[in-house]
Amino acid sequence: MTNTNTVAMPKSGTPFSGLGRMIGAEFLKLRKRTMTKVLIIILVAVIALVNFLFMAISKLPPIGSGQGIARIQDYLGLSAAIPFALYLIASFGSVLAIIMAASSMGNEYNWKTIRTALISSESRFKFLTAKLVSLAILILAGMLIGVVAGFIMGLITTGIGGYAYNFSFATGSYFWEQFLQFWRTFFVITPYALLGFLMAIVGRSAMPGISAGIGVLFLESIITMFMVLAGGWIAKVPDYLLSANVNAITALNNLPQGFGKEMGNGGTSQALPSVPHAFITLGIYAMAFLALGYYLFRKRDVTG
């Protein structure tokens, strides 16, 4: 007896069918990479290092009025541990997210696995979507590890520094605010990660993605500074770039005076864009990078 069902032409699924399975496969690839673990270790190490550095500085004899030292001591307080960790994640974590996103896509070209991956994927749309979703999960997991590391460092430096363990700040509104700031931080990392991802597609390699993402992250602050100095309408241009809008959102984290808004605009006295403006602008950038990535990858010839 023959059973034609076993070899009947399989039907293509709905736009999202099988996506969970593909995300699982992509997540396995990311999870098993040594680089992923190294990046998370680097993030934790940087958070630890900055905390220890601040603690060491706080123990120096007062210089001048001694207000600077007092401020640093504020950062070491437990209440500032999570917002400070999120602040570091928004800046340094963006670099790591760019590396992870660009290498996730670019290494498919570098290792030539793109061909095998595409002929084993239901569609290019699903392949990219699975990659992006698994990346988002990993970035969120990395952020969570960073927050936990920041809080543990807060506990350690409070203990070593001889400060009092005071948990009175741990109210519902505090945790709600940290929860919101966690997602805001993810939101500000996203455009940079997507830029790295897009440029890895454009350049068919990890390096263009990493260099473009990190390049924009660092150079934009310098360019912003010069634009603000130029004055006139040019000084308004940074409001429509990434860094000023990122700073407008990270400034919401209620860090002690000295950080937050004062440090948010590349050291210039220029006012930061409004928060709704920042959300809309960053959202537009993220959507544009995403759409362009999908568009380029949709019908691009995979050769070489």
Partner: protein, 317 residues
């Protein structure tokens, strides 16, 4: 025979052409990589696809697999013309394009697992089965990056078998294999074809192709310059070398025979262009006129000779 095999045979009778390209062309800017390519590959057939470096073989394979968009022409897979998403067809194809490519930091097993998850519907014991089949079961937990070239090839072949394909496209499958490994793969290919699969073999190892393929297409500068059963291709320019005392008279007799294409004197021998298996007829024709052949050698071409003649001596890819 399994149920799957039976159903394949059942389909095979209705749908024996698994791949058909019609007027397939691809240009990259001004470069015409593939021009008006017409190929046909049937179930159970091992098809050799040969050509020098840069001839357009990988571009053709890329177009078949949907990695490259053709400029013109059409591709039919399993009787269905391919427009847009070809996943339904790709699920039935196993392919190594140019070289096996896997994630270097993952083990052989993990690489297969990633593929199986992407494809879907592949049980885990299938992974073990295909790794066993290519002799990698013992090294399945080792990192792919530490594999030898031969092991990478084996894993590539295992990946093609993962989805129990009806069409297998293999690009240089014996690359990097030792003689024993080469023989194993050479033996495996016809076995896979006997399982009612069609196999497209891109190789520069012309001897291997000659041993396992039934049909061959040779591509040069994007154009197919030969596409025929391998026996027919080898018989083209088939020559018989004979030695007789009276060469002049023998030349006259042989030139008058309808199936003799040409007769040429080379030293002490006459070189006769004739179809294969005509040795006895040559001998008989000469003997009837009182000329006796003292030496008769049938000089069939090897695929390598044919390839080099057709491609103008370009090295195979």
């Amino acid at each position: 025979m399994t149920v799957v095999m039976e159903s394949r045979d059942a389909i095979g009778t209705q749908d024996s052409v698994v791949l058909r390209t019609t007027g397939l062309s691809k240009s990259f800017g001004k470069l015409e990589a593939v021009k008006n390519l017409n190929l046909e590959l049937r179930r159970g057939e091992v098809f050799g696809f040969l050509g020098p470096n840069g001839a357009g073989k990988s571009t053709t394979v890329g177009m078949i697999l949907g990695l490259i968009t053709p400029t013109a022409g059409s591709i039919e897979l399993f009787g269905v013309k391919q427009n847009g998403n070809r996943w339904a067809a790709l699920r039935r194809i196993g392919a190594i394009v140019e070289e096996p490519a896997f994630y270097p930091y993952l083990s052989g097993w993990d690489n297969m697992h990633v593929l199986a998850e992407s494809i879907g519907g592949i049980p885990k014991n299938k992974i073990e089965e295909v790794l066993e089949r290519v002799g990698l079961a013992d090294r399945a937990k080792d990192q792919y990056g530490h594999y030898s070239m031969g092991m990478k090839q084996r894993l590539g072949i295992a990946s093609t078998l993962l989805r129990d394909p009806e069409l297998i496209i293999l690009d240089e499958p014996t690359n990097g294999l030792d003689p024993a490994g080469t023989k194993e793969i050479r033996d495996l290919i016809p076995r896979l074809a006997h399982e009612s699969r069609a196999i497209m073999l891109c190789s520069h190892l012309l001897h291997e192709v000659e041993l396992v393929c039934q049909n061959v297409a040779i591509i040069k500068q994007g154009t197919v310059i030969a596409n025929a059963p391998i026996k027919e291709l080898l018989s083209r320019g088939n020559q018989m070398q004979i030695r007789v005392d009276n060469m002049g008279e023998a030349t006259g007799i042989l030139s008058g025979l309808p199936w003799v294409k040409s007769v040429k004197r080379e030293g002490d021998y006459l070189m006769i262009d004739i179809p294969p298996d005509h040795g006895a007829a040559v001998n008989q024709a000469l003997a009837q006129k009182g000329i006796f052949v003292s030496e008769l050698i049938n000089r069939t071409h090897s695929l390598e000779n044919v390839f080099l003649q057709l491609t103008g001596g370009a090295s195979g890819d």
